[in-house]
């Protein structure tokens, strides 16, 4: 049974995603229970898989029993197991948020489960073309979810996301085509050997690297390829913002790491320094530009979106440095950022529904009106800045330590400067929440607050608050899991650079 887990993680949500469509013939409110049941099973399987990988090492699976490398292979090592467990846990947790916050149609839950399918598939696959298929499933489901908002701006944001996202995925596919042309294989493990045999200097291999990594950085939303991301995050419904900000770019960054370490391998990075330094440089520009853009935003959700551009710069920098310390740090920050950013978006939803405040100035004095939401927001914001003992601190610490040990001083300077910039925009918000005179008073916001779909209920449910509090608690508690994660990563990842 245990060896079937990787494929079940993909099949369970896709079957669950097909059921709400049939169920809507009976009732259009059956999506939530079906999604809850499916994701409960999915989370149990993902937890079991993570435990199995942690104790027994990498798990391989030949889909259809076809011989590797001709058939599709699924490979789950420590990194994939951690990412797939994150996907399950976040998707299940956010259902508690979605129950009140909506959208409530069955079609929404079908897309939600389809997105979980795509993300799980990207995490477990060991085949570069299969990765493209799941990248597209993820993308299409995410475009649909962004468009499920009721305003026209959601549709525009989704269209922009669709066009830019498709260009990114197509670049990746083109790169896969080059690799297939030069090696005749699509299996990641097989590719690593054949690329080494052909020689890292081959123009076809270099082109494939540039196209694949370039395509994935569009999906990760590194500066200057991030332009789809603030619109998509800020204009989607609150549930969707929290979901895609937590997971979609995260899994794309995982795919980038997978392509770097399992397909091209660190030998490629040492043999072609220009590739490595371009990636490090792009990441550093992204860190600085993302932070600078975040500081200048007036809408809180757009500020959080630009903050992601900066944080993913950190993660990619960690992966590109490619020493064990830096890679562990990048992974910890990747997972921690998902929890923190998802929680922050959930908190902005709570605050906006309760008070109508959505801008930095509007947040003034809201600490008293929305105590739980504001407290959760502040804890998560400080965790994101990197205040110990939160997970944000541990991730950044390892990345900086990795950069110091590798003696890449410009990166160290950028990393430390980025922490100050992060502090600049989050401290401003926390200060407004607790120490400023309110600009929106109770009663005057009723017209501006989000309308309550079913009337009568309070706009914010206990489940929604529980998601925010849970994310804040996890942002600290996850630190306890870092040693186990570090050990599993170093045992199961392909070889990394020396310190």
């Amino acid at each position: 049974m245990i060896e079937q887990l990787p494929v079940l993680l993909v099949v369970v949500p896709i079957v669950g995603g097909a059921v709400p469509l049939v169920a809507s013939l009976v009732s259009n409110r059956s999506g939530w229970p079906i999604a809850a049941l499916t994701l409960a099973v999915h989370t149990a399987l993902a937890g079991w898989l993570a435990w199995a990988v942690g104790t027994g090492g990498t798990i391989d699976y030949a889909v259809g029993g076809f011989a590797i490398p001709y058939g599709i292979e699924l490979v789950v090592d420590g990194l994939s197991a951690a990412v797939v467990a994150l996907v399950s846990a976040v998707a299940l947790g956010l259902l508690a948020y979605a129950r009140r916050a909506g959208p409530r149609s069955n079609a929404f839950y079908s897309q939600y489960l389809l997105l979980v399918t795509g993300l799980s598939g990207m995490a477990v696959t060991g085949d570069v073309f299969n990765l493209y298929v799941f990248l597209e499933i993820t993308g299409l489901a995410a475009y649909g979810l962004v468009a499920s908002g009721r305003e026209a701006s959601s549709a525009v944001a989704a269209l922009k996301y669709l066009i830019i996202g498709t260009v990114g995925a197509s670049l990746y596919l083109l790169g896969v085509g080059y690799l297939l042309a030069v090696t005749g294989t699509l299996n990641m493990g097989d590719l690593a050997g054949k690329i080494a045999a052909i020689g890292y200097g081959s123009p076809l291999v270099l082109t494939a690297f540039a196209l694949m990594v370039g395509g994935l950085t569009v999906k990760v939303a590194l500066f200057p390829l991030h332009t789809w991301q603030p619109d998509a995050y800020a204009n989607a419904p609150d549930t969707v913002s929290a979901f895609i900000s937590a997971l979609v770019s995260t899994v794309a960054a995982y795919a980038l790491a997978r392509v770097l370490f399992s397909v091209f391998t660190v030998d490629f990075l040492t043999a072609v320094p220009v590739a490595r330094w371009t990636l490090v440089g792009l990441a550093c520009v992204s860190i600085v530009a993302g932070s600078a853009l975040a500081v200048s935003q007036s809408s809180v959700q757009r500020m959080l979106a630009y903050s992601s551009v900066s944080q993913f710069g950190l993660v990619v920098a960690g992966f590109a440095i490619a020493t064990p310390t830096a890679v562990v740090g990048a992974t910890v920050h990747l997972l921690g950022h998902a929890v923190m950013k998802g929680g922050l978006f959930a908190a902005t939803g709570v605050i906006e529904r309760e008070t109508g405040a959505s801008t930095v100035n509007g947040y003034a004095g809201m600490g008293g009106r929305v105590p739980v939401g504001a407290m959760g927001f502040s804890v998560l914001a400080l965790a994101m800045v990197g205040v110990p003992p939160a997970i944000g601190f541990v991730g950044k610490w390892y990345i900086v330590l990795g950069a110091v040990r590798a003696q890449i001083w410009p990166v160290v300077v950028v990393l430390l400067a980025s922490t100050l910039l992060t502090l600049a925009y989050f401290a401003k918000l926390v200060e407004r929440l607790y120490f400023a005179e309110p600009t929106i008073y109770e009663g005057e916001d009723d017209a501006g607050a989000a309308p309550v779909a079913d009337g009568g209920d309070s706009p914010v449910s206990t489940g929604m608050l529980a998601v925010v509090v849970g994310a804040a608690v996890l942002a600290v508690a996850l630190v306890a899991a870092v040693p186990a994660l570090e050990q599993t990563l170093l045992e199961t990842l392909p070889p990394l650079l020396d310190q």
Binding site: Q4, V7, V11, I14, V15, G17, A18, V19, L21, V22, S24, L25, Y61, A62, V63, G64, G65, R150, E151, A152, A155
Partner: protein, 156 residues
């Protein structure tokens, strides 16, 4: 400008209606032919599904989109899409239940000696059903209905 001010898009034409009536059974047969050739010759569910979906679009051009929308129930489309996914998953998971890997067709050999081939055909039919229903569904969504913004009605 509201939709009522515009002339109807649909114009009845005997030539088109007759042609479509003659051609559509052949097109649908060809769609099934392509779908059934996924296992051992060029063809498959994606191509066949698109051709099957095109049959319905052809009927919509000949007989009017509203008529077609009444004729093709949205529930049929939903059932086709879900049924396709569930067929695919059932064949895949069946192989696991018999002790193999996901979609390991040779686990079914005890039923019939060409089980591998017909297993692939069934999966292709499932994919064909999904592709056809999505193509028809997208066409019916995009055609006719105006884009509804905040419940303000459409501008077709």
């Amino acid at each position: 400008m509201s939709a009522d001010d515009q002339p109807g898009l649909y114009v009845e034409s005997t030539i088109i209606m007759t042609t479509v009536r003659v051609v559509s059974p052949f097109v649908l047969t060809f769609a099934l032919f392509v779908m059934f050739h996924g296992a051992d010759s060029p063809g498959g569910g994606f191509q066949g599904g698109v051709i099957a979906g095109a049959t319905v679009m052809m009927l919509a051009f000949a007989y009017g989109i509203e008529t077609t929308r009444e004729w093709v129930d949205v529930r049929v489309i939903a059932a086709l899409a879900s049924g396709g996914v569930l067929t695919f998953a059932a064949i895949g998971l069946g192989a696991i239940a018999l002790g193999g890997n996901f979609l390991q067709y040779n686990e079914y050999l005890f039923i019939y000696e060409e089980a591998s081939k017909y297993g692939i055909e069934l999966v292709e039919l499932g994919i064909g059903a999904i592709v056809a229903s999505v193509a028809i569904g997208l066409f019916l969504l995009a055609a006719g209905y105006g884009h509804v913004v905040d419940g303000e009605g459409g501008e077709a």
